[in-house]
């Protein structure tokens, strides 16, 4: 067996990019290196018309490379529009017709795809750890977006039975609860450093779809804080092609900003 010529960050970028199409418009928030690389990879390969609103500001930006921040002006280099947030960005985001997919990284993600970026601990007002807070997550889970989760820390502290606080609405308590509240969209996929998950169509429980090359199903089960749904044989996650790896390393992110997510 030869050592594969890619690293897990590149695998994740390629896996996430597969969930993006030419007809989509996406934006990114703070410290979102893997999504930003995935958008660029999708645009360079199978989704050339994917619209990317860099930092929720710069339309179709063409940064020379992924910079050290995904929320600063270097990211929206050569954009065709600097979208004002108040009237424009939020109107397009709320509208329902555009920006229909959104990538989310939560400090906690639970079995129904709810995410927590607010507090760790049982008492919101006296938390063990105060996390940064909702930002746009508190909106994006509720306004019809198809949510694509990523996390570089697939472990029982991140993937939990139930989030301590629902900052971002996923499938709530599963089944049709989301639908009953009139919420469209919802979580579709979780790309972690070990595996790719989706959600069971009826129960809305997180389901193991593939394990990354070199990772076993048992390792994933062990690293997950709840029982994953496992339907039959679990295939291996498709590895990035040589060309995808080359694009990521040479064209998109030569500085390796994506590895900041593994600090």
């Amino acid at each position: 067996m030869t050592t594969p010529d890619y690293t897990v960050d590149e695998l994740m970028v390629a896996a996430l990019s597969r969930h993006l199409e030419s007809a989509d418009q996406v934006c990114n928030g703070a410290a979102s290196f893997i999504p930003v690389c995935a958008f660029a990879l999708a645009r360079a390969t199978h989704a050339p018309d994917l619209v990317w609103l860099a930092g929720a500001v710069g339309l179709d930006a063409r940064p020379r490379r992924v910079p050290a921040s995904t929320l600063e002006a270097p990211l929206w280099h050569r954009a065709s529009m600097y979208m004002p947030q108040l009237e424009d960005f939020w109107s397009y985001a709320l509208n329902g017709r555009w920006l229909t997919k959104f990538c989310v990284r939560g400090a906690q993600i639970d079995r129904y795809g709810n995410a927590n970026n607010s507090v760790i601990g049982d008492d919101y007002h006296h938390p063990k750890v105060r996390l940064p807070g909702s930002a746009g997550l508190g909106d994006m889970g509720s306004i019809g977006k198809r949510l694509l989760y990523w996390t570089t820390t697939h472990n029982p502290r991140t993937l939990v039975e139930r989030v301590d606080f629902v900052t971002c609405a996923g499938w709530l308590r599963g089944g049709d609860e989301r639908e009953r509240l009139g919420l469209a969209g919802g979580p579709e996929v979780v790309v972690s450093d070990l595996a790719v998950m989706d959600f069971h169509p009826r129960s809305k429980r997180m389901r193991l779809r593939s394990v990354h090359p070199g990772v076993t199903v048992e390792q994933v089960v062990e690293a997950t804080g709840f029982d994953l749904v496992i339907d039959g044989d679990v295939p291996e996650t498709e590895p990035p092609t040589d060309e995808q790896v080359r694009l990521i390393r040479e064209e998109i992110d030569p500085d390796g900003a994506r590895r900041r997510e593994f600090a």
Partner: protein, 294 residues
């Protein structure tokens, strides 16, 4: 009567206990001259609202100036959590009144337009609305019965903004980049408006480029000259954030004593000029090099 004044005089427009909306977008556009001045004048018990709070809120937290934060997020983006703020909340010294972005913007938009509330579909299904029975209520659309969330109007006492240019009447101009919501909404929602500016211009210069004016003079109370006034945060297109400064802050802010000593050292500068001398020309020159980051 000119509205140009010193940071000290502008800070006198802010009283203990006031609710202050402070421009901030993570590592971008924080009016740090005024943040330092509030620390110098030992303001107490402020409530602060920002869209994406950053290092400024961390300093106010460490120095006990702020007792409540009202907004969606406190983060220095790639530089991580604000440790002073985090400690303050965990210790119960600071209350974090958390809203989503559309939530805080709806509250401010209602305040700006003198409407009692504005609605959003954000936050439905999350645990956020239940935190705020006094400011978030479910409301049935009178036409279809559909449930949305009503956000109560917010009218902070005062706001602090940073812009490219200002004239003595108080007209404020923006000169490039995107318009953050802070600039568009705070002056309307807040009782008083303080704007620090990179450059002072004449009213004639304002009239030469009326399409760049973003706040009319009648909504502005104080204009403060503050070249590089957002340092160590960025202000497009003039300068990027000071990477070394933030990294040093991440290091020292793990220890409250070191953090406070650091803040005090910079707050000892009596003027923006003195502050910039403390930072040093080499560091400032580095922030003018966008290519380093782009």
């Amino acid at each position: 009567m000119s509205k140009i004044m010193s940071a000290a005089d502008a800070a006198a427009l802010i009283g203990d206990g006031d609710h202050v909306a402070v421009q901030s977008m993570g590592t971008q556009g924080i009016p740090m001259l005024m943040v330092r001045e509030l620390i110098r004048q030992q303001r107490r018990d402020l409530t602060v609202t920002s869209v994406v709070a950053g290092i400024g809120i961390d300093w106010l937290s460490f120095k006990g100036v702020m007792s409540r934060f009202c907004g969606p997020i406190v983060s220095m983006e790639r530089f991580g959590l604000c440790q002073g703020f985090r400690r303050g909340v965990q210790a119960g010294a600071i209350n974090f009144e958390e809203y989503s972005e559309t939530g805080i913007l709806a509250r401010l938009a209602a305040g700006a337009r003198n409407l009692p509330f504005q609605i959003t579909r954000g936050m439905i299904g999350t645990d956020i609305p239940a935190l705020h029975p006094d400011t978030i209520r479910e409301l049935a659309d009178p036409f279809t019965g559909e449930i949305v969330l009503a956000l109560r109007a917010l009218r902070p006492d005062v706001c602090i903004l940073h812009a490219h240019r200002g004239d003595e009447r108080g007209n404020i101009q923006y000169g490039g980049g995107t318009i953050w919501p802070d600039v568009q909404i705070y002056p309307k929602a807040c009782g008083r408006t303080i704007v620090t500016v990179e450059e002072l211009i004449t009213e004639d210069q304002t009239r030469a480029n009326p399409q760049e004016t973003v706040i009319p003079h009648f909504a502005v109370d104080a204009v403060v000259h503050a070249p590089s006034g957002c340092h160590p945060t960025s202000f497009f297109p003039g300068y990027v954030y000071d990477e070394a400064f933030h990294e040093e802050w991440v290091r020292v802010s793990r220890d409250p004593e070191q953090a406070i000593a650091t803040i005090d050292r910079y707050c000892a500068a009596d003027t923006q000029q003195q502050y910039l001398e403390l930072i040093g020309e080499a560091a400032l020159a580095a922030t003018r090099n966008w290519r380093k980051l782009a």
